[in-house]
């Protein structure tokens, strides 16, 4: 009940902020404008619409995840509203979990809105609906959950500007970390190999959640890949949240 109260409050705070709607609006606007861009380029119209539409939804939902994640935790500490919560019989872990769930719900609403509008545009522009695209949104959602937990982790001990830089860095590292996995086959030295392994496993490999190329081509994701990716995402979210709780438990206000 306490976690739910904090989660609901987090959701309320997010949806009563105008920036939230602005970002959703831009997400929808750019996915709509994919049709205009498709008119200017040569190629498969439907593929171009999907490519640009999905990329814009991806970009704006990542923005919402990073900034609302950082803002909504840091603001509690900065504005001292956290005093009112933690002086009551609320465990600090409940605070972190409540914040996470509230943000996760906020993101699901934002993503659903953008995805629904995109599917509608796609239907209007091309005359058919590609349900495989829903898989893309599901995978994107898991990536966003990892980003929210990372932003909660950083904002539990750092300033918003640093937290934003750290979280965005993790986002980019996460999309390039797969290269370390390739490296380890090409490197011979034990130390270098260990280094490549370490980097590959310590950071979340966010490329695992990027299935844009296959869904745009209309290819389905294999069941074992689907299950392992979802498990991989869940593991990272749990690990990062556990670390956040550990830090938050020791923090003084």
């Amino acid at each position: 009940m306490k976690i739910k109260a904090i989660a609901v409050n987090t959701f309320k705070e997010a949806v009563r902020n105008k920036i939230f709607y602005l970002l959703i609006f831009f997400g929808i606007f750019f996915s709509f404008s994919s049709r205009i861009i498709s008119l200017l380029t040569i190629g498969d119209t439907s593929k171009i619409i999907k490519d640009i539409g999905l990329a814009s939804i991806n970009f704006f939902s990542v923005l919402i995840a990073v900034f609302s994640g950082i803002n909504l935790v840091y603001k509690e500490i900065e504005k001292k509203t956290v005093y009112n919560i933690l002086s009551k019989p609320v465990h600090r872990r409940d605070f972190i979990l409540g914040k996470f769930l509230g943000l996760a719900f906020t993101l699901s609403v934002a993503l659903t809105l953008m995805a629904a509008m995109f599917m509608f545009f796609l239907y209007v522009f091309t005359g058919n609906i590609d349900l495989i695209l829903l898989l893309y949104f599901l995978f994107l959602y898991f990536e966003l959950l990892i980003l929210i937990s990372v932003s909660i982790l950083f904002s539990s001990f750092s300033t918003p500007i640093l937290s934003s830089i750290f979280t965005i860095s993790i986002y980019f590292i996460g999309h390039f970390v797969w290269t370390f996995n390739e490296f380890k086959y090409k490197i011979t030295g034990t130390f270098e190999k260990a280094f490549a392994y370490f980097f590959y496993y310590i950071f979340p490999n966010l490329e695992k959640f990027n299935i844009k190329n296959s869904v745009v081509m209309g290819e389905a994701v294999k069941t074992d890949v689907f299950v392992s990716t979802i498990l991989y995402g869940s593991f990272f979210v749990s690990a990062i949240l556990t670390l956040s709780i550990y830090i938050f438990n020791r923090r003084e206000f």
Binding site: M1, K2, K4, A5, I6, N9, K12, E13, R16, N17, K79, K80, T81, Y83, N84, I85, L86, S87, K88, P89, V90, H91, E252, F253
Partner: protein
Amino acid sequence: MKALEVNELTKSFRSNFLFRNIDVLRSVNINVEEGSIYGFLGPNGAGKTTTIKCILGLIFPDSGSINVFGKPVESFSYRNKIGFLPESPYYYDYLTARETLRFSGRLFSIPGKEVEKRSDEILKLVGLNGKENIKLKKFSKGMLQRIGLAQALINDPHLVILDEPFTGLDPMGRKELRDIIIALKAEGRTVFFSSHILQDMEMIVDDVGIIVKGRISKEGKLRELVGETVKYHEITVLGLEEHILKEKGYDYTGIGKKIMIKLEDRANLNDAFKFIEKSGGECISVSRISRTLEDIFIQEIEK
């Protein structure tokens, strides 16, 4: 049973410069009797808020123990019995007064219906009835203080802790807050509040603890502390010329026709009466001036 018992509490913070430790609380001992109003007095930076944060588990003491109604603060369940109003409270300004109370109630796991019922009572007590559906961003400072107090009472607390509740309130607001604190005591609650506004404290508290530089320098019943010495006696007279008193060597102050004679030694009272009568003056009143909390406070700081 004691409502709050703080024993040998110490707390230091690491300064960013040269990593030196700054001792904020050196040895704090507080004893708050159940059902009393306890005033926690100290100049700015003496350690009042740090002590309160330790009691509420917002920061962790280096050593010492804190018990609330006999239970150590580590037990966590004690928080169900505490209501807390932070210093210059901040709330979610996108929530209305009623939503704020609903949210606070949920954090105590109070069932919805009970929260609604209790909210009505409390909003009336703090004078916010009729304003429950206004968002807090439109609230004045005084109104925010009231909603702060309201959320501190939502769980029907046995111990109410208020950090600098009088700061920023106008005289009317301060009077209303004093009345609320007295009403809380009448309901059987214990009230612990910190302040550096002496008059407000002197009017309502039963016990006082004075904290100076992280140490409790004086603690006890207010009446005993201020009443243990009479500072001087003051005789108010009419119909006397000032120069007569001056010649006699009296310490006096005159306002119009009224003159106040200050006598530090009680033994001189009779002589003074006789002198006034002989000189043709009329004695209106005699008052015993005790030490005030301010005198004790300044004396403790200057030690």
